[in-house]
């Protein structure tokens, strides 16, 4: 258990994905997540932290100790960093118990056996100690891999797309379980994924990555509600951007009316103070920002609809031709092409400077 700090780390020559100027701090005992589309550099970042890729600038510190800097790195086997691989990489010739105990060599055998038992119990595989990896299901293999990584009490656990080989249902259940296990072991963990549901379910801190850079390092809540830029807004959650014009530091006018944010309008970088009157911006509207109201005089045409059980997600075409999304309780079943009344329910304004 230790704090993980990346300080402007870059890596571009050995890996196919590059990372540039990567900085974040993962506090001790918390779970972090690098979220991004494939090819964004998140796996490279993980490999730099685990000690399989050298870095070109900056440094990586685990629990205050520098483990990587340009031209030098602490060998992977000395880092005390556990890793759960995408393909689990269980040792096929060893039983479940021996897999878990692999990293415990050098400890007295009573302690070793106790630790193996403890971990197998923790991951719910107490009865499977003597089995071999190929006899287990995917979800069980995943848990063995986690137990194996946790066994030597590493300072940090890394997980590379840990659930991508599992089916959707199992994925959701396991991600909650894994969070539980990690929290019980009070481990600092960093997880790489392209699935935001996974990230939100697991992580205390999420870094959205794109083209080798971290776009935003924040809590899941803030990523959704206060995305730092267009990429984050687009990648995390659903929504539409509508063009608008700034009236003053609290008011923005869009096609559907004037939005009054409770917090000052910020466009572009955080704390932008260039937002002045007549500044053109794009305003982010999440599906829950537009509410269906039959009495409203504001009308929009239903262009598409997706049934979600409790609600419909309508794609609406506004009079100007711009599109917006709206989440509507499913008893309001409207046909495509129909015009329905809507009204705005915006809590705070997220705007990006028009480029």
């Amino acid at each position: 258990m230790a704090e993980l700090i990346l300080d402007s780390v870059s890596q571009s020559y050995t890996a196919r994905q590059i990372i540039a100027d990567l900085s974040f701090t993962l506090p001790e005992g918390t779970i972090g997540c690098l979220l991004g589309p494939s090819g964004c550099g998140k796996t490279t970042a993980l490999r730099c932290i685990s000690g399989f890729e050298p870095i070109q600038t900056g440094e990586i510190r685990i629990g205050g100790e520098v483990v990587s800097r340009p031209g030098w790195m602490l060998p992977a086997e000395k880092r005390r960093v556990g890793m759960v691989f995408q393909d689990y990489a269980l040792f096929p010739h060893l039983s479940v118990a021996d897999n878990v105990g692999f990293g415990l060599r050098g400890q007295p055998s009573t302690e070793r056996l106790a630790r193996i038992d403890e971990l197998l119990a923790l991951v719910g595989l107490a009865g499977h100690a003597g089995q071999f990896p190929h006899q287990l299901s995917g979800g069980q293999q995943q848990r063995v891999a986690l137990a194996r990584a946790l066994a030597p009490r590493p300072r940090l656990i890394l997980m590379d797309e840990p659930f991508s080989n599992l089916d959707v249902e199992l994925r959701e259940r396991l991600s909650l379980e894994v969070r539980d296990i990690l929290k019980r072991e009070t481990t600092t963990a960093l997880i790489v994924t392209h699935d935001q549901h996974e990230a939100f379910a697991l992580a205390d801190w999420v870094g959205v990555m794109h083209e080798g850079r971290i776009q935003q390092w924040d809590t899941p809540y803030n990523l959704y509600h206060e995305p730092a830029n267009r990429f984050v807004a687009d990648f995390v959650g659903q929504g539409a951007l509508l063009s608008g014009e700034v009236i003053n530091d609290h008011l923005v006018e869009i096609e559907l009316g004037v939005l009054n944010g409770h917090i000052p309008v910020e466009c572009g970088a955080r704390g932008c103070d260039e937002c002045v009157r007549n500044c053109h911006v794009d305003v982010l509207l999440r599906p829950d920002d537009i509410v269906h109201d039959d009495d409203s005089l504001l009308l929009a045409e239903v262009e598409n609809k997706a049934f979600r059980g409790a609600e419909f997600l309508y794609t609406l075409k506004l009079p100007s031709g711009q599109r917006a999304l709206s989440l509507v309780p499913s008893h309001h079943n409207h046909a495509i092409g129909e015009k329905i009344g809507i009204k705005l329910a915006v809590d705070h304004v997220v705007a990006f400077r028009r480029e």
Partner: protein, 529 residues
């Protein structure tokens, strides 16, 4: 990478050496060769290739179809038992066939005495050679074709039937053409063995390149002539190699899907009976009868021949095969690791070249490696004389060096196959997982790699061991004085027509040869994939 290149160089040395023999042409011998020897050799070789080609294809494909696609009594047994002839070197089948079917053999004697029947076709003929070689080598086609049919036969047939073809039409118009790359690959392996065969040809006195190389070496004492003959043989072999490699690439693209549990064709009782008789007859003629005859013969000489000399032969065979197998496994392991360390096209091609030696006939390798070693020897002796006053005629020539190098080149592919595929099972993330759990390089190799590879190493060593035990021409031509092996003993006894006395060493070779077949059947592995 450097190491891999060195191995490749070693493999290419015999080729370069044999071709460069045309630089120093011995006029008389060459004239003799081209006038009297070559036309017959080429004719004999072409007939042989054609005949054996047809023979192994018909036997291999028909038996593969029956065991892979049809259901008949004993199918499960035949499925693996039909591979047993692989344990019988062709030269053993050959002398048993001659011993049994010759004019003075039991069958003809009995027919003459009891029935007055004479005029059976002569076994010592072109037809006889082709028959024996086909029976000995059909398992190559059988094994690969069976895999092809098992993986895609049912789908192909069902598709064909859904399009309105009868079963027979489906077989000839869809299943057979689909399996063509596989059949071709098996066929080419069988033909390489045919071109490489020395023992059978010597027993039948059927002159081909291998026997001619041997004669040029021992009777004419002409290394250049032997080398020139070897180079012509290489040309034949290379044609086969090109075809084989091309079929292999097509095999990769051709693989459609796997039908896990396929429905076999239910044969009518009559047809099932015929299938049983056919498969049973092939098995009996190609394996059971020869082995029984060997056993009978061996019993008659057991009392006299099972002496210390026999144990010497056996010990030499085991020792050479053991050293050779260890060497092959070690080199194959390094070659496979070279590919793992730096994957890429360059190393893949190097590996393919380095393992090409399986195609080179033993006689060619013997000549191609003896010449450079002899040259090195002479150079060393010259140096030795001028520098240290060393007196002697050979340093390396009289040692096992040439023989072991030739084994290495010839059997590297046999060892490389299982080791490389075993190594492919150890993914990069398994390495990294071990590292993350605190393993040093040594610990990684001893705690993870070695245990995972153990079975592959064992397979590679066993296959190589048995192949070296069966090997005849390299051992015969390059063994140091006093290093007679079981195979050499078989050669000597058969060249004197003493079948009974050849039986005992043959039996030992056959028993050793059955081990890898059992191994292959148990593990469901394919030897040449």
């Amino acid at each position: 990478m450097l190491f891999a290149l060195a191995i490749t160089a070693l493999v290419l040395v015999p080729v370069v050496v044999t071709f460069s023999s045309f630089a120093q042409v011995d006029g008389d011998i060459l004239a003799h060769l081209t006038e009297f020897v070559l036309p017959e050799l080429v004719g004999n070789t072409l007939w042989l290739v054609l005949g054996v080609g047809i023979g192994v294809s018909v036997l291999g494909v028909s038996l593969a179809w029956l065991t892979a696609m049809c259901d008949f009594p004993g199918r499960r047994l035949f499925d693996w038992a039909l591979l047993l002839p692989l344990a019988l070197p062709a030269y053993v089948t050959a002398f048993v066939a001659i011993g049994l079917l010759d004019f003075t053999g039991p069958l003809q004697t009995w027919l003459r005495a009891g029935w007055g029947i004479t005029g059976l076709p002569e076994i010592r003929s072109r037809g006889g050679v082709i028959l024996v070689m086909s029976l000995a080598l059909y398992p190559y086609v059988y094994l690969i074709a069976k895999n092809a049919f098992a993986t895609q036969g049912a789908i192909a047939l069902e598709a064909a039937q859904s399009l309105g073809l009868s079963r027979w039409q489906g077989f000839f118009r869809v299943a057979l053409p689909m399996a063509r790359p596989w059949i071709a690959a098996g066929l080419m392996l069988a033909l390489m063995e045919t071109l490489a065969d020395f023992g059978t040809m010597a027993i039948f006195n059927y002159d081909t390149f291998t026997t001619a190389i041997y004669k040029a070496w021992y009777n004419l004492f002409s290394l250049p002539a032997a080398a020139q003959l070897a180079s012509i043989l290489i040309l034949f072999v290379l044609v086969a190699v090109v075809f084989e490699q091309r079929s292999r690439t097509r095999m990769r693209y051709g693989a459609v899907g796997r039908s896990a549990a396929q429905r076999r064709i239910r044969l009518s009782p009559v047809r099932a009976g015929l299938a049983f008789l056919y498969a049973g007859a092939v098995l009996a003629i190609a394996f059971l009868i020869p082995v029984m005859q060997l056993a009978l013969w061996a019993r008659t000489v057991l009392a006299d021949d099972l002496d210390s000399r026999y144990w010497d032969f056996a010990w030499h065979s085991v020792l050479l095969a053991g050293i050779g197998a260890l060497m092959v496994v070690a080199v194959a392991l390094l070659l496979a690791y070279a590919g793992r360390q730096r994957p890429g096209t360059a190393i893949t091609w190097t590996q393919r070249l380095a393992t090409l030696g399986y195609a080179f006939p033993g006689a060619v390798l013997a000549v191609g490696l003896f010449i450079p070693v002899a040259a090195l020897d002479n150079w060393l002796i010259d140096r030795g004389r001028s520098w240290f006053g060393f007196g002697g005629t050979e340093i390396l020539k009289g040692t096992l060096l040439v023989m072991l190098l030739a084994y290495l080149v010839r059997f590297l592919a046999v060892g490389f196959g299982p080791i490389d595929s075993g190594l492919h099972r150890i993914t990069r993330s398994i390495d990294e997982a071990a590292r993350n759990l605190g393993s040093s390089t040594t610990a990684l190799l001893t705690r993870v790699h070695l245990p995972i590879l153990r079975a592959s190493l064992l397979t590679a060593a066993t296959l190589t061991f048995v192949d070296i035990m069966k090997e005849m021409p390299i051992t015969l031509m390059t063994r140091p004085f006093g290093w007679d092996t079981l195979a050499v003993r078989v050669f000597e006894m058969t060249s004197e027509g003493e079948w009974e006395r050849a039986a005992l060493p043959s039996l030992a070779i056959v028993v050793a040869g059955i081990i890898p077949i059992i191994l292959l059947t148990w593990r469901g592995a394919r030897p040449l994939d």
